[in-house]
């Protein structure tokens, strides 16, 4: 076997192994996600102080989720916001929970395919939340976290709050038995 052919066979071997490994990893991840039961989903939700979340979100939106008039909105001080949200780590927990909320909508979609509208919306909301968190992580690396935090964090929390309202609305509309547990967890 000449050197060139040796490189070619080695490259093809690595290519195939990597491709099969990626396919196997994502296939099993997808399978786990689609087969997750209700208890498993609920257990994945990180415990977050919902009163704090509500307080931060309700500073921007009202109880029904409607944005407040600009003069009443965003009254919380940056220090208060940091404490209520739990800093960047608190936002990372919201980010992780937003993924579980999507799975919860997909859980309903197994029986009611029409719930895809909510699931898709939640998916895009979660991307938005992730975008806010990433902006803050970038700001933290540049040493600008204190300046950027109030704006991005409050919008991220409001997005998360509206996501929880969407999921609760979905379970309420379907009159699912899990609603009580979900209300407790969120």
């Amino acid at each position: 076997m000449n050197t060139h052919n040796l490189y070619f066979v080695a490259a093809m071997g690595i290519f195939l192994v990597v491709l099969i490994a990626i396919a196997g990893y994502y296939y099993s991840r997808g399978l786990r996600s689609s087969q997750a039961g209700w208890d498993e989903l609920l257990a994945k939700l990180a415990r977050i102080d919902r009163d704090n979340i509500a307080q931060v979100a309700l500073d921007l939106v009202d109880e029904s989720g409607r944005p407040r008039q600009s003069e009443d909105a965003a009254n919380l001080e940056p220090r208060q916001l940091w404490r209520l949200v739990g800093g960047l780590e608190g936002l990372e927990l919201l980010e992780a929970n937003s993924e579980v909320l999507i799975d919860m909508a997909f859980y309903v979609q197994q029986w009611y395919p029409e719930a895809i509208v909510i699931a898709e919306r939640l998916r895009l909301d979660a991307r938005e939340l992730k975008w806010h968190v990433n902006r803050l992580k970038g700001a933290a690396q540049k040493g600008n976290l204190q300046v950027s935090f109030p704006f991005y964090a409050q919008h991220a929390v409001a997005t998360y709050y509206l996501m929880t309202r969407r999921v609760l609305g979905l379970y309420e509309a379907g009159n699912f038995s899990m609603l009580a547990e979900l209300q407790k967890a969120l």
Partner: protein, 260 residues
Amino acid sequence: MHLTDLDLLFWAAGFLAHLGLLFVLWYRRRAAAFPLFTALITLGSAQTIILYFVFHYGTKRSYFYTYWSLTMIDTMLQLGVVYEISSRVFRPLDVWAQDVRSSFVWLMGLSVSVALGLSLLASPPAHTWMHAFTYKGNLFAAALMSELLVAMLALAVSVRLPWRGHTAAVAKGLGAYSLVTVLIETGHSYFGGSRESPIFVFFSHVRMAAYLCCVSYWIIALWPDEWAGRTMTREMREKLFTLHARLEYDLNHLRSRNKL
């Protein structure tokens, strides 16, 4: 070129399997949902008949050109099926999901680059440039198809778009077959040789056996209907969509404030 009993058996089995799959696609009304996949399978059936007659009544040269012309159409249709699968996975509400477009284009670019790099690295022991080009082209197509299908699977799982039902069955079958063809094309590019050489015949048989398994899987997987789910009551739908519309409006308001 001499055909053995095993060659003829594979030809006949492949033709019958294609007919069986076409029957499932039309009788069970899957063809409307997967027009490009149906076209690919139709081409597969036609290919067997056309090549059979060209082989018996044509010249070696005409067989060569017919074979590679059909293979090129087949590759184009396979890429079309990849598009068909992605349009079903990444368009959950009949429009492309906004967040996957850039990742999809990036992954396509990466797949083409890697496939091109691998095919350039190959140096098949071919006597003519056309043979070398054929080996490299086949390797490129096989690598690209397998990469695209794996990339689509990874992207769908990452962005949490479900990959299920008949779409998943078509993708899984094509993905598994593409991985086998990468292995076979690597062998072809390494060993080279004429169509009569034992190694070429061996690889052809492996490819046909893998393809037969794949078609049989499609026949079984596409026969039953997809789970249709329950229909929401009018009250449920109204509640849900009122809430959805309101929150949608509110979020847009928040976003517009975000831009200020």
